[in-house]
């Protein structure tokens, strides 16, 4: 079976003295309708992986293949229409939305990306294969023809009032802005949605809700979701599979629930032990050993 997204032997090196090997041989795959959580501490290369997948960073080695098409790094020219089927939701909704354009216009960008690919139909109930025009897509999840062409429709899908389309980003809270960013990404009818720490700038009380919303909307439309976060307690709720990165490599991967309940790699164990539990018992999370260097052997399940 070929997955929707196949990343093989990915290496990314940032120039400098000495050069930084941000990603050092990463293989991962995301299937259609599958939710993959990517976790690890800051500097482990998880954001670099995400940015490479959508062509924002040039890999030093390895391949990123999306639905049979190799992903080429973004240059000065507009990216190929087929690659707009990958959409990204960034960490900071204060920076990722244009402050002086109305919400409706920004979601309209996403809609236009979908239209430019061949109609607002997008992939249907069955995930599109190859051509991206989504044959017979007006049946299935959205039902009515052309509904997805309206920004207001997308706003309603992410739980906002349709009249928000006439307003500007500063009129919304962080959680609402992130919903808008999700609406914009989904309006482009992606087959692969990438969330690069999409919930870490939000209040704790809205994190789980926004994460679950992203999962449901992506899965309902048959898209794959690569969800990057350092917050394990939320990721394990929404992810089917979990990938743990450490120092540019994958150290553990497997079904989310299995890893959460029974982590095998010492790094994953220390990561889980450090998550503070809001149970009111005053349990201190376990601090990592000073300058701990965990083995880089992989535990793949």
């Amino acid at each position: 079976m070929t997955a929707l997204l196949e990343v093989a032997g990915l290496r990314v090196v940032y120039r400098g003295r000495p050069p930084v090997r941000a990603v050092d041989g990463v293989d991962l795959r995301v299937g259609a309708g599958q939710v993959v959580g990517l976790v690890g501490e800051s500097g482990c290369g998880k954001s670099t992986v995400a940015r490479t997948i959508c062509g924002l960073v040039k890999p030093a080695a390895g391949a990123v293949v999306f639905d049979g098409i190799p992903v080429t790094p973004l240059g000065l020219r507009r990216r190929p229409a087929a690659l707009t089927r990958i959409q990204m939701v960034f960490q900071d909704p204060y920076a990722s939305l244009h402050p002086r354009r109305r919400i409706g216009a920004q979601i309209g960008d996403g809609v236009r990306a979908a239209t430019a690919r061949g109609g607002e139909t997008g992939p249907g109930a069955e995930p599109a294969r190859g051509d991206g025009t989504g044959s017979g897509a007006d049946t299935g999840r959205s039902g009515d023809t052309g509904l997805g062409a309206e920004p207001a429709w997308w706003l309603r899908r992410v739980g906002l009032e349709p009249d928000a389309a006439r307003r500007y980003p500063h009129e919304f809270s962080g959680g609402q802005r992130q919903r808008i960013a999700i609406a914009r990404a989904l309006a482009a009818r992606p087959d692969l949605l990438i969330g690069d720490e999409p919930i870490s700038a939000l209040d704790a009380s809205t994190q789980a809700v926004v994460a679950a919303l992203m999962r449901d909307l992506a899965v309902d439309s048959g898209a794959g979701l690569l969800f990057i976060s350092h917050d394990l307690s939320v990721v394990r709720l929404i992810a089917d599979r979990l990938i743990v990165m450490y120092r540019g490599r994958i150290v553990e991967s497997g079904p989310a629930q299995v890893i959460w309940e029974d982590p095998q790699h010492p790094y994953t164990q220390s990561l889980l032990a450090a998550v503070p539990v809001p149970d009111g018992l005053g349990t201190m999370p376990a601090p990592p050993a000073d300058d701990a260097h965990y083995p880089l052997d992989q535990v793949l399940r």
């Binding site: 704790a204 394990l232 929404i238 032990a273 503070p276 809001p278 999370p285 601090p287």
Partner: protein, 272 residues
């Protein structure tokens, strides 16, 4: 006995009501948590104690530190207290430390200002402080610059700077929010130890109830500029008195009554 007492504190900035009567009490050796969503007034409460409010702020109420009423103090007296007896740790150590000054310079600056130590004495004290927050090789670290340290080490250095003049009160505003969970665990242990060993009264401002549950002795919850609940940690987390606290906990994975599965989260979304 309370080290710092905030009573009926209100704050208006250019006519906007930010705080509407905040009451808090900090005791020596105890960590008072202050939780709430962004915009609820947590940070402004902390800044009011330090007297670092933005221009155009109108404050009423009382903040008493020992015998002194902070809000009535002339600026000079307040400067004497700030950094010496009441200190603050900010959220992001990569912006709260000066990038172009060595750690030693930043650590000794206020030692020399407040305690009038000479060069050698202040350096010795600075090295001792770095050792206290477990920075490896403290003497050499004094000559290094913030970018040469990791995020967790930088926050430890920021804590060392705050502790330099042996303050009685420490305001920690989201001290671990910018850190990884693994690094966060270490900083939380440090805060807990410092409070216990130095008898420090800590006001821990954070929106992360997990952090709160780990180190705070008492937990206050703020909303719209008011403290809606303030109580013992276990009571607040297990039987919250205010419906807002209960709704906060309900949205958290791992809390008592919090979401456990994806379906719980979906149910939460239906409600909101």
């Amino acid at each position: 006995m309370s080290a710092l007492e905030i009573t009926a504190l209100t704050l208006r900035i250019h006519g906007a009501e930010i705080l509407r009567g905040v009451d808090l009490s900090l005791a020596a050796g105890r960590i008072q948590g202050l939780a709430g969503e962004s915009g609820s007034g947590k940070t402004m409460t902390g800044l009011a104690v330090l007297g670092l409010l933005p221009a155009g702020s109108q404050v009423t109420g009382s903040i008493s530190y020992g015998e002194q009423e902070l809000l009535a103090l002339p600026p000079r007296r307040r400067n004497d207290l700030r950094g010496a007896e009441i200190a603050m740790v900010f959220q992001d150590p990569s912006t709260s430390l000066h990038p172009m000054l060595s750690v030693g310079a930043q650590l000794t600056d206020h030692l020399r200002h407040h305690l009038k130590l000479d060069r050698a004495a202040s350096r010795a004290r600075a090295a001792e402080l770095l050792g206290r927050v477990r920075i490896p090789d403290p003497a050499a670290a004094l000559h290094r610059y913030p970018h040469q340290f990791s995020g967790g080490q930088r926050q430890r250095i920021a804590i060392a700077i705050a502790l330099a003049c042996s303050p009685k009160v420490l305001i920690a505003d989201e001290p671990t929010t910018a850190l990884d969970v693994t690094v966060q665990a270490g900083v939380l242990h440090l805060l807990r130890d410092l409070a216990t060993e130095m008898g420090l009264a800590v006001l821990l401002i954070t929106h992360d109830l997990g952090v709160m549950s780990a180190v705070a002795d008492r937990v206050a919850v703020m909303r719209h500029g008011e403290v809606v609940e303030n109580g013992d940690r276990l009571q607040v987390f297990t039987s919250p008195a205010h419906p807002y606290t209960a709704s906060l906990l309900a949205s958290l994975p791992g809390a008592a009554g919090g979401v456990r599965t994806l379906d719980d989260v979906r149910a939460l979304r239906e409600l909101s």
